[in-house]
């Protein structure tokens, strides 16, 4: 593993907030973090594997919704606020829809949902919560929802 090298091409993305997502190793890190958090939840709470997956799924929903679809702008001031009206999801790949990164990020919550539902044997109330979470996340990632603010939620003043 130590001898495995990857090459990093300089991307043309000027937005420093999102350009890190185009480098090699991001997808693997994302999946590994989810897996390790499942292990941590399992060891801390001592619950069944299915319950642990549900907890991971729901906290993943909360975290990714907050950072991808709620928070707007960039965490530094060098770009003079050109992205202040865009959430992180709207900023990736310069707003181009249906790129590889976006498809990957769309698939991850769906896969998590399937794992969580399967390991809890599709019982309520976990099924309801999981379905609600994946529904919200998937709808938020549709190309049609680019820059759409429903009922003015999270719109600017």
């Amino acid at each position: 593993m130590a001898n495995l090298y990857v090459q990093a091409m300089q991307p043309t993305d000027l937005n420093r907030n999102t350009e890190w997502f185009t480098y090699p190793g991001v997808w693997t890190t994302y999946i590994l973090i989810l897996f390790f958090s499942w292990l941590v939840v399992l060891s801390v709470f001592g619950c069944s594997p299915g319950m642990a997956w549900t907890i991971v799924h729901l906290s993943h929903f909360a975290v990714t919704y907050q950072f991808f679809h709620w928070k707007k702008g960039t965490p530094f001031a060098e770009d003079q606020g050109v992205y202040n009206r865009l959430t992180w999801w709207e900023q990736i790949d310069n707003g181009k829809q249906l790129t590889r990164n976006r498809k990957f990020l769309l698939v991850v919550p769906v896969v998590l949902y399937l794992i969580a539902s399967h390991t809890t044997d599709y019982q309520h109330p976990m099924l309801f919560l999981n379905t609600l979470a994946v529904f919200i996340l998937v709808v938020a990632k549709f190309p049609h929802m680019h820059k759409v603010r429903i009922f003015g939620i999270n719109a600017d003043q």
């Binding site: 043309t12 000027l14 420093r16 890190w20 480098y23 090699p24 190793g25 890190t29």
Partner: protein, 669 residues
């Protein structure tokens, strides 16, 4: 029938109209050539390179005496197996296509960078031979199983013996440039993402608790809007302030090879820092002191003090009011002749030179295509000009060509009219990468599509090239081919200010319109004298050979330092002959570790993190100076090696075999 007749006439008129608008292109042949290089594996050991070049006459007239010459295959390295690198045809009719192909075997392991093939042809209506270039190809790693030691020797011999000449339009490539992509160990990439994630999570948690605590406290600013919107200052507060002591270190002596760094202490965990009275004498590896003019110089300093007494520290007015002294006119003449252009204009500040000139050169309706890693001053100037800005992948002429073609075909946004002007902005040496620009290829692409070239030589003027004239001299590009040459005096000349050099008409226009010339204070007279004196020293006009010694010194120092670092196993970016060498750190925790440990051992390095570099590619940037002696460099190497072991930044194995393999990636002719 009548309708068909009318529509027929309209179609004919439209055709005439359209073809007359292409009048320039349609009455002469237009040669387009595509070069394709592919690797063929005959058996597991033998590999052949097959090259095929298609030449196509896209114009509407016939081209005569078409000759194709592909000189980019050095005979020492490549054996011709089938076919010839040159070919000629008597005529090439309009719209027709000819192909030529040949095959090679290579003797060494190398990365081949596509150099264009040259096609010359005759047009009956014009007197001289016309020239066209094939599209360059992307790097192609050619493997062979010859002995590592022998091939490295062979490559070193080639590197030193190949001619660096580049004449008018002939595109022979350079041996000095050796750019490679950043290679990260996979595990390091994963751990770096994880570290940043952890820092981010902790920052968010602290912000969350801070917001809860602030709810309970009373603020005297009820009703005012917050100064920072949203998460604008998150990076500064939660990541940068934690390691604040590694940046902005104050010094208390001139930035020579050794200087005094003031020590600072913090009582509240790096939120605020207080200066102490202690100074430590450290080796300076961070200043842009390329030729050693930053400290007192035996020729320059007496003359600077004399002009200080004669002219006073500041002219106290702008150039057009009362701020042009004899020093300023002499400075502009000297800079113009040094750089190799007819005229030059000088400004008081380097950053302002870029950000105030670009809005004057181009406006709405124009197109600026800039390299993705250009300096902030260029980005600022481009944004302020109102022109459309596009970026191309760093130092990739093929991507530049792709972007140019796309943009020219599209035209202006919404109206799709042709662009009023296209300017390509590149830098000579990129300060965060230490890489040289691929100037010959980029100039070739620009000439093909009739775009202007703007070259920012802030780091390369005075530091590279045989006589110090910058990247054009080093890479063999004629200065008449670069339209606007910009540079600063802060790096190699030990002064302050920037210049723009170009044709007489351009400089005259700039003097009428540029706000930095009309309203900003002119260069301080002692600073101008420093530049004049340092140019005299570099050119040897002071009567000694110190200039040539300095130039040779910086080249030897940089090459020595870079090769030693690479032998130790560090990942060092940048090309040979470039005095800037970034050592990759990647992990955010290694940035303060490297910086602090080096400072403890009395070596001052500059570490660069986000957002000056991409998030993951944090680095420690070392700038070599001609003032560093061999002893200084050896001490620096020892310190960096021990700190590198401690911190764990030696990402490549340090065996000599593997390092020679890395060195084997040179650009071949």
């Amino acid at each position: 029938m009548e309708n068909a007749f009318r529509s027929g006439i309209l179609a004919v008129l439209a055709l005439i109209f359209i073809s007359s608008s292409f009048a320039n292109a349609s009455d002469s042949p237009f040669i387009v050539a595509h070069k394709r290089v592919a690797l063929k594996k005959l058996n597991p050991i033998v590999e052949r390179i097959s090259v095929s070049i298609d030449v196509y006459n896209r114009g509407s007239a016939t081209a005569y005496d078409v000759t194709l010459a592909d000189d980019s295959w050095a005979q020492d390295v490549f054996d011709s197996v089938i076919g010839n690198t040159s070919m000629s045809w008597g005529r090439l009719d309009a719209g027709s296509l000819v192909s030529h192909s040949f095959e090679f075997e290579s003797k060494v392991k190398t990365v081949y960078y596509g150099a264009p093939a040259l096609i010359t042809y005759r047009v009956p209506t014009k007197s001289g031979l016309q020239e066209a270039y094939s599209t360059p190809t992307l790097p192609l790693k050619i493997l062979s199983d010859s002995d590592t030691g022998k091939k490295i020797e062979k490559l070193k011999r080639l590197q030193s013996s190949a001619p660096p000449a580049f004449h008018h339009h002939r595109n022979q490539t350079l041996t000095a440039v050796r750019s490679k992509m950043i290679t990260i160990p996979y595990l390091t990439a994963l751990t770096t993402y994880f570290s940043y994630g952890l820092l981010f999570v902790f920052g968010q948690l602290r912000d969350f608790f801070r917001r809860i605590i602030d709810l309970w406290s009373h603020s005297s600013l009820q009703g005012y809007a917050p100064i920072c919107l949203g998460l604008e200052d998150f990076y500064i507060r939660r990541l940068y302030l934690r390691i604040q002591d590694c940046f902005n270190r104050p010094i208390s002596s001139p930035p020579d090879a050794w200087f005094d760094v003031v020590e600072r202490v913090s009582k509240d965990n790096n939120k605020t820092l207080q200066r102490t009275k202690n100074v430590s004498r450290c080796l300076n590896l961070g200043s842009y002191n390329y030729l050693g003019f930053a400290a007192a110089d035996e020729y320059c300093t007496p003359r600077v003090i004399e002009s200080l007494k004669r002219f006073s520290p500041s002219t106290c007015s702008s150039r057009v009011d009362g701020g042009t002294t004899t020093l300023h006119t002499e400075l502009e003449e000297r800079v113009a002749s040094f750089v190799g252009k007819p005229a030059a204009v000088v400004f008081g500040m380097g950053y302002v030179t870029n950000s105030a000139i670009l809005p004057v050169l181009i406006g709405k309706g124009g197109l600026i295509i800039s390299d993705s890693l250009n300096h902030n001053s260029i980005v600022n100037g481009a944004r302020g000009s109102g022109a459309t800005v596009r970026v191309f992948q760093h130092n990739t002429p093929s991507h530049l060509e792709k972007v140019l073609r796309e943009q020219i075909a599209d035209g202006q946004p919404r109206t799709h009219r042709p662009w009023k002007k296209i300017i390509i902005v590149v830098e000579g040496i990129y300060s965060m990468e230490g890489e040289l620009c691929k100037l010959p290829e980029i100039v070739a692409v620009c000439k093909k599509y009739k775009a202007y070239v703007y070259l920012d030589e802030a780091h390369s003027i005075g530091a590279v090239g045989k006589t110090g004239r910058g990247v054009c001299e080093l890479l063999g590009v004629d200065t008449a081919e670069v339209d606007v040459m910009m540079g600063t005096f802060t790096k190699s000349f030990g002064s302050c200010g920037g210049y723009i050099a170009g044709s007489k008409e351009l400089i005259q226009y700039l003097k009428y319109t540029c706000p930095a010339h009309l309203y900003a204070t002119s260069v301080s007279p002692p600073a101008a004298q420093q530049i004049i004196s340092s140019i005299k020293v570099i050119l040897g006009e002071d009567g000694s050979s110190r200039g040539a010694q300095k130039l040779a010194g910086i080249r030897e120092n940089s090459n020595f330092f870079r090769s030693e670092l690479q032998k130790m196993g560090f990942e060092v970016l940048g090309d040979n002959d470039s005095p800037v060498m970034p050592i990759m750190l990647y992990n955010p925790s290694k940035i303060p570790a490297f910086s602090r440990e080096c400072l403890k051992r009395n070596v001052a390095v500059v570490t660069v993190a986000f957002p000056a570099t991409p998030l993951l590619l944090a680095r420690a940037r070392i700038c070599i100076s001609a003032a560093h002696t061999r002893k200084d460099l050896i001490k620096a190497l020892e310190v960096i090696s021990s700190v590198g072991d401690l911190v764990g930044v030696k990402y490549f194995p340090a065996e000599p075999n593997k390092q020679q393999l890395e060195e084997g990636r040179v650009k071949m002719e």
